[in-house]
Amino acid sequence: MSAIIRLENVTKTYPMGEVEVHALRGLNLEVPQGQFVVLLGPSGSGKTTTLNLIGGLDRPTEGKVVVEGEDIARLNDRRLTQYRAAKVGFVFQFFNLIPTLTAAENIAFALELVTRDRKAIQERTAALLALVGLANRGNHFPSQLSGGEQQRVAIARALANRPSIVLADEPTGNLDVETGRQVLQALRDLNRQEGVTVVLVTHNTAIAPLADRVVRLHNGTVASDEHNPHPAPASALNW
């Protein structure tokens, strides 16, 4: 399988007052297309930084972040924006839905970034809502949805433009266990059905069995990299 994501000797240093914080220290990582990867690690291990670099939300201090053969670290702001709109789907810990848009409109908002075809937008929105089990909640505003429902809308939004990569940062961090399982299962199903590459960041080790591969980060480098030939269903997870 070819690598859709490749991080080569990536370092990331943040100035913090008069000292520098080294979030990543020469990180190397390759993720093949269609893989479900969990990045595990304690706070400060560099997992969120890695996710942000892949998503084009941040730039590395040194090294390359190659996605689908293109070093995104070299893209200007406009092209980086286009990259995010077309190739990446984000799922945030706090869901980050736009409160003034309904569930359907939140998904359409992402779709409108790449197409103006109203009919296509409507059809795709309906299909995505059905996919995450919220076909009858499309006209509800985020404030009228539960946390789990909001996160599922966020997943649908992340998938709106058929991205090749979905990046999820602690997607269950603000959900109860049962809702968290549903969200994880939704991500797993989408990965399998749509062939989307998923990179999920968590500090929760209980989630690891869900993944095809578990990469543990420590102090800005890869501490371990394990492949899981028999991923567990989300229903089997407990935390």
Partner: protein
């Protein structure tokens, strides 16, 4: 306050420096407007008083037919009289170098020393020496208008002869701070009326009035009984034919200055109050939003054990710091502006002794108002949030943190019309009602302030245009000191270039009603004339009113005399008291105009043949200069005026007003920008996570900018109509409050001003949003998408 809290206060201010600065600007503008306008008002009043006191401005001036100079000694001996100056005053003509005649007043004063009363202030050159019969002192306004300096020659017409005199000095006179020939002619006329001070004995010689004077200027002792002194002086002068006794307050220049100052007082009270009100509301809204945005920190402080009082004190200190800084900046700016306004105003008017003072009470008032505004603005939200339980204040529930979304009424009515971007902008505009309301209020106030100042400018122009285009339809006006007959009228009608002549009788009268009286110039015109158009506000048509023997008055005059249409009043004329009925109120630029029919006035005079004291002339444009000369050369002509000159004088007088309005417009613009900048910045700050999310999922900055701009446009659309209405309403109220006998003002705002104001405020609002949009572009998306507020 504890040291750490104190540090936090400073750092909070520094962190939100741009918003804090905008708040400081808002407070500073409010305070500086108070200090500048009120300070300038006081300075102007003080300058007038100082000039009057220093130059011994007469408490009363008696005009007699002719009296020996020695009569002054009898007056000086009266109780309550401190000093007396006898003088000879001769109204005559003056021919400008291009041959154009104007009016002149020669005042004979004892040479070699300043008169005891009504001294002059030497601005240039020297005083008249005792052995200099050919010397003349020229009043400064006239000298300025025609560029006269010591050494120049002037040629007033004395006894029908041009008499060359050498200018020895340029002087300011307390009697001519505003140059008006008479109480009835309040319009300053420096270009058409010159005042010259000459040696008394020389003027007596030139006018064949040796040993005679016709005016006595009296200065009272402190605490003198003015009525008693006037009565006693009148008794002394009765043998010499007392024509008038004019108290200081009724003296033409003093009365005009008083009217001017009254108008200014209204302005200096109203405008700062309005700006302070806007500042107070803006501060309340903005500080409230800033405090509420620190809700979590407040919860944390409470959780750590800080008392409610300590937390409240911290945020109050934040507000007070802004208030205090605004007060200091505003006070400094205000003092400078007050000096600038006073100096510009006084210099333009020719007030020689300018008093510019620092008013500690105003400073104290300004500082107290700022601190009170800031404290009130900061107190409400701080109190509300510090009362929250710490856990409640710190709660970070992403579901609860969401604003409630809802479809707008417009969408429900027209669901198919709007794109997602428009829908989002509409919903964002109303998602947080408090936020929307505060932004809306900011825009309403901005529109109001700008339109108000712009509208005053328009109104002034409109009033002048209306007066000189629609009301006054003559080209030249000749006023005669000796009545003219029909023969003279017919002569003028046949002059080259003359198209039409309307005769009139114009004479000073006193209108009396309900125990009140007003001195005005009464114009008697043929009811069907076309030279002066009457706009009737109340009552019957002018034709009918004047044909029926009635009188037309301006509303201000009727109001001052407590008269309604249909009431009877007494007109005290040189031909006796006459009873007339007020038949209509007419809208005029001058606040104190009165009109009767020509037939009515002719009947009053009792003259066997028709006589006239004024000719209104319509003529070819290229003949006007010559016409003016010819009219002035008519026997008995007191003045000849071209309408275009009169209009130029008015517009020149308005220059100061325009400067003032410009100043107000800059204030309004600055205020609008500061208010809108803060509103827009807070709008973005409160939604950073949401905007960062949009950026993260691929929305371009341009799209987000368009959305924010659209939100601003939505609020602007809702605010523009009430803002324009308020601007018109407040502007109208202000213009009415500034109306004096000198002129009647009312709001008349041009359509393009409404449009430009609305568009200008929209552009200001969008510019105000620019820094916020730039901030969105610079957001650390990785961090901002995790912020939960």
């Amino acid at each position: 306050m504890r040291p750490t809290m104190r540090r936090k206060t400073w750092r909070d201010l520094r962190a939100a420096w741009a918003q804090s600065l905008a708040l400081v600007v808002i407070v500073a503008l409010g305070i500086s407007s108070l200090m500048a306008l009120t300070g300038a008002y006081r300075d102007l009043g003080a300058s007038y008083r100082h000039t009057y006191d220093s130059l011994h401005f007469a408490d009363v001036t008696f005009r007699v037919r002719a009296a020996p100079t020695a009569a002054a000694a009898k007056l000086a001996a009266l109780d309550g009289v401190q000093a007396v100056t006898p003088r000879l005053v001769v109204d005559t003509g003056y021919e400008l170098p291009d041959g154009v005649p104007i009016r002149a007043r020669l005042i004979g004063i004892a040479s070699g020393q300043q008169p005891a009363v009504n001294q002059v202030y030497l601005l240039e050159g020297e005083f008249l020496s005792s052995d200099d019969p050919q010397g003349v002192l020229v009043e400064s306004h006239f000298a300025k208008a025609y560029g006269l300096h010591p050494g120049d020659t002037v040629t007033p017409i004395i006894m029908g002869k041009k008499t060359p005199l050498t200018v020895r000095g340029i002087v300011a006179s307390p009697e001519y701070l505003i140059v008006s020939p008479s109480r009835q002619e309040v319009m300053p006329s420096a270009r058409t009326f010159g005042v010259f001070f000459v040696a008394l004995n020389e003027l007596q010689r030139l006018t064949n009035a040796q040993g005679k004077v016709n005016e006595f200027c009296l200065l009272f002792t402190p605490h003198a009984d003015a009525d008693a002194v006037v009565k006693a002086a009148r008794a002394v002068l009765t043998p010499y034919g007392v024509e008038s006794a004019t108290l200081a307050k009724d003296q033409p220049s003093a009365a005009a200055l008083k009217l001017d100052l009254e108008g200014y007082r209204e302005m200096s009270n109203t405008i700062p109050a309005l700006i302070l009100l806007v500042a107070a509301l803006s501060l309340y809204v903005m500080l409230g939003r800033m405090v509420r945005s620190q809700r979590q920190q407040i919860g944390l402080m409470r959780a750590l054990g800080y008392s409610r009082r300590q937390v409240a004190a911290h945020y109050l200190a934040f507000a007070l710091l802004i208030g205090a800084t605004g007060a200091v900046v505003g006070a400094g700016l205000g003092v400078l502006l007050a000096r600038g306004i006073t100096t510009a105003y006084a210099t333009e008017l020719g007030i020689p002794l300018i008093q510019v003072r620092f008013y500690p009470d105003l400073l104290l008032e300004g500082v107290l108002i700022s601190l009170m505004l800031a404290a009130l603005a900061g107190w409400g939200p701080t109190r509300a949030i510090s009362r929250l339980r710490p856990a409640q204040a710190m709660r970070l529930n992403p579901v609860e943190a969401l604003a409630r979304g809802r479809r707008t009424l417009l969408e429900r009515l027209l669901p198919w019309t709007f794109s997602l971007t428009v829908r989002m902008a509409l919903r964002n505009a109303f998602r947080a009602r408090r936020r929307a309301a505060s932004t809306w209020i900011s825009i309403v106030f901005a529109v109001m302030l700008v339109l108000m100042s712009w509208g005053m400018w328009d109104s002034m122009n409109y009033m002048l245009d209306r007066n000189f285009r629609q009301i006054e339809r003559w080209d030249a006006l000749a006023v005669f000191s000796q009545p003219q007959t029909s023969d003279a009228l017919n002569d003028v009608r046949h002059w080259e270039g003359v198209r039409e002549v309307t005769p009139a009788l114009v004479f000073p009268v006193t209108l009396k009603a309900d125990g009140q009286h007003k001195d005005v110039l009464l114009s008697a015109l043929p009811p069907d004339q076309t030279m002066h158009r009457w706009f009737v506000l109340d009552g019957v048509s002018p034709l009918k009113a004047l044909q029926d023997g009635g009188v037309l008055l301006t509303p201000l005059l009727a109001q001052n005399l407590s008269l309604n249409v249909g009431d009877t009043l007494t007109v005290q004329t040189p031909f006796g008291d006459k009873k007339v009925v007020l038949r209509g109120l007419v809208d005029e630029l001058y606040g104190s105009n009165a009109f009767v029919g020509l037939d009515t006035a002719e009947a009053w005079t009792g003259a066997p043949v028709a006589v006239y004291t004024a000719f209104y002339v319509r003529a070819e444009a290229d003949r006007l200069t010559a016409l003016k000369k010819d009219l002035f050369r008519l026997p008995g002509a007191a003045s000849a005026t071209l309408k275009r000159d009169m209009e130029r004088d008015w517009r020149s007088l308005m220059n100061l007003f325009y400067v003032f309005m410009g100043f107000l417009a800059v204030f309004a613009g600055g205020m609008a920008f500061a208010v809108l900048f803060n509103a827009m910045t807070v709008n973005v700050l409160e939604r950073e996570r949401e905007l960062a999310t949009m950026r993260a999922i691929g929305a371009s900055l341009r799209r987000i900018a368009a959305m924010l701009a659209l939100e601003t446009v939505v609020l602007w659309l809702l605010a523009v109509a009430p803002g324009l209405f308020l601007g018109w309403y407040v502007g109208d109220a202000m213009m009415r409050s500034f109306s004096t006998e000198l002129m009647t003002l009312q709001a008349h705002i041009e359509t393009h001003s409404y449009v430009l104001t609305a568009v200008g405020v929209l552009i200001t609002a969008l510019l105000g949003a620019l820094p916020a949009i730039r901030r969105v572009g610079k957001l650390n998306l990785a961090e901002a998408t995790k912020i939960l507020t």
